[in-house]
């Protein structure tokens, strides 16, 4: 029965926070619509809007679903239900990661389809596109984990500021990596060892961050 309570908590979050997910999907779709018109301006405006949509949802979802639940004193209601701290953590991570993955996966697939099928950009852009798309997911996991463990608006905001101010820097440094930039005009996707290492590092960060969140939550003695 406890498993079903976790399921109900996940469903609850999806029902409460469905609007920002739908807005993100709509904003991302508009961005891709601009992007596929072709031309330099459309490319810049479309891609900026596209990433902004993902960065915004990566920032606000943990604040809405995790920080506000504690700040607005909904947490005692949830914890009055037959769930343990770890089951709450599981429900919260599954629901928030799921809510982020819904627009993220949809928009990522749409972007890849535009590159792969419609030929908007050379296939050589696929590795850098995937690496850049991973950044909001990495940032989201960092903010969500910090918000859950930190238990305060301050920690959630600090994590958001760190992430949002890092995206530009990371992108800048990526443009300085020849292994990424020299191959983007290629008609085929080239996964250089450097590209693989960066992408692998991003992927590895996800279970590391989620595992660390579970570990730190399991050590808590006072939850409310």
């Amino acid at each position: 029965m406890t498993g079903s309570v976790v399921g109900h908590l996940i469903m609850k979050d999806w029902q409460i926070h469905r609007v920002p997910i739908l807005v993100t999907m709509a904003a991302g779709a508009v961005a891709l619509g601009i992007f596929q018109r072709g031309g330099e301006t459309a490319f810049v405006v479309g891609s900026v809007w596209f990433f902004v949509a993902l960065i915004v949802i990566a920032s606000i979802l943990p604040i809405f679903a995790i920080v506000n639940e504690r700040k607005k004193q909904n947490l005692p209601l949830v914890m009055s239900l037959p769930v343990s701290t770890m089951q709450y953590t599981t429900a919260k991570l599954v629901s928030t990661v799921g809510m982020f993955l819904a627009p993220w996966l949809t928009l990522m697939i749409a972007a890849l389809v535009l590159i792969e099928v419609r030929g908007i950009l050379p296939h050589g852009t696929i590795p850098i596109t995937l690496i850049l798309l991973m950044l909001p997911l990495v940032g989201f996991c960092f903010i969500a984990g910090t918000a859950l463990v930190g238990e305060s608006e301050g920690w959630g905001t600090a994590a958001t500021v760190v992430c949002n101010s890092s995206y530009g820097l990371v992108w800048y440094f990526m443009t300085k990596i020849p292994a990424l930039m020299d191959t983007w005009k290629s008609p085929v996707a080239i996964w250089s060892p450097t590209a693989m290492a960066i992408f692998g590092g991003e992927l590895a960060f996800l279970p590391l961050m989620l595992g660390l969140t579970f570990y730190l939550q399991s050590r808590k003695r006072d939850f409310i």
Binding site: M1, T2, S4, V5, H8, K12, Q15, I16, K72, Q73, N74, P76, L77, M79, S80, L81, P82, V83, S84, Q87, R221, D222, F223, I224
Partner: protein, 298 residues
């Protein structure tokens, strides 16, 4: 099956500026226990410990026979918990909350929920953000009561409510107790509310249980004696008298274990007993806390 809905033995919890000190508390099945204490006395910490939300440093906690916090999931199926700092989701309706809780608890009583909805003057389609404080408290209690829990743990549920709303809620809690198998732990600093519905009273202050017994016994044992003390007469120190305030020839003695022999003893000493007065629970509470603080300070 244990005879007690709640058993706390030797529970301690230390914070930097506050600690719970060896809390022993037992709530028998089918009883309403009022937990009274001033702000910051440790009521909420005690309740959070027994709900498994805060882990005790030492001591044993059992709720409906389940060891806490280890077995909190099993215990919480049968415990309805509401606290003054518990809020429903602003953007959702009362009806959505009812569906949410109903989906979790198989024992949800739909007919009773509808009855409470009507009795509390709520509408299922109302969003929580549009409700007054009193309506929000009622909505929260509706969600707790319609689950039909064996044990209700209510942490200051009537705080901030107007007299009518308080009366409605207390009446509903009294109705709940028509089912004799159910128990309630009700914390408050409002002694009137506690006096109205409780069978047993526990006083807590500065992290310590200072007294715990049957409510009627409390009201029966505590008395105020108004005395006239002629010049040259010294009042004797009597067991059961915890405080004597004398101003000239008039004195007021407070008894926490009243016996008619006390009045006789004062008369024998040369004082005249003007009256023996019953005390309200609030007066007992204040006298008890002050006496306890004097003892600790001594």
């Amino acid at each position: 099956m244990t005879d007690f809905a709640i058993e706390l033995s030797g529970v301690e919890k230390k914070y930097r500026f506050f600690s719970l000190d060896h809390i022993d508390l037992k709530v028998p099945q089918g009883q309403i226990m009022g937990l009274i204490g001033p702000n910051g006395a440790g009521k909420s910490t005690t309740i959070r410990i027994l709900m498994g939300l805060v882990h005790q440093d030492s001591g044993d906690v059992r709720v409906l026979g389940h060891q806490m916090p280890a077995e909190q999931v099993a215990a919480k199926w049968d415990v309805g918990f509401a606290s003054e700092d518990m809020r429903l989701y602003d953007s959702m309706t009362v009806g959505w909350h009812m569906s949410f809780i109903q989906s979790i608890f198989p024992g949800w009583d739909t007919a009773y929920a509808q009855l409470l909805l009507k009795r509390f003057g709520l509408r299922a389609e109302q969003k929580i953000k549009g409700l007054s404080h009193g309506q929000r408290v009622k909505a929260t209690l509706l969600l707790v009561l319609a689950r039909k829990p064996k044990l209700l743990v209510l942490d200051e549920p009537t705080t901030g409510l107007d007299p009518v709303a308080r009366h409605e809620i207390l009446r509903e809690l009294t109705n709940v107790m028509a089912d004799e198998g159910r128990s309630i732990l009700f914390s408050s600093h409002n002694t009137q509310d506690v006096e109205q519905i409780s069978d047993q009273i526990t006083f807590i202050d500065r992290g310590r249980i200072i007294d715990s017994m049957d409510k009627e016994l409390y009201l029966d044992r505590w008395r105020r004696l108004r005395l006239e003390v002629p010049l040259g007469i010294k009042l004797p120190v009597l067991p059961g008298i915890i405080d004597v305030i004398q101003d000239g020839r008039l004195a007021v003695a407070t008894a926490n274990a009243f016996d008619p022999d006390l009045a006789m003893a004062y008369e024998s000493s040369g004082a005249h007993v003007h009256s023996v007065e019953n005390m309200t629970l609030e007066e007992i509470f204040v006298a008890n806390v002050e006496h306890s603080r004097e003892e600790v300070g001594a």
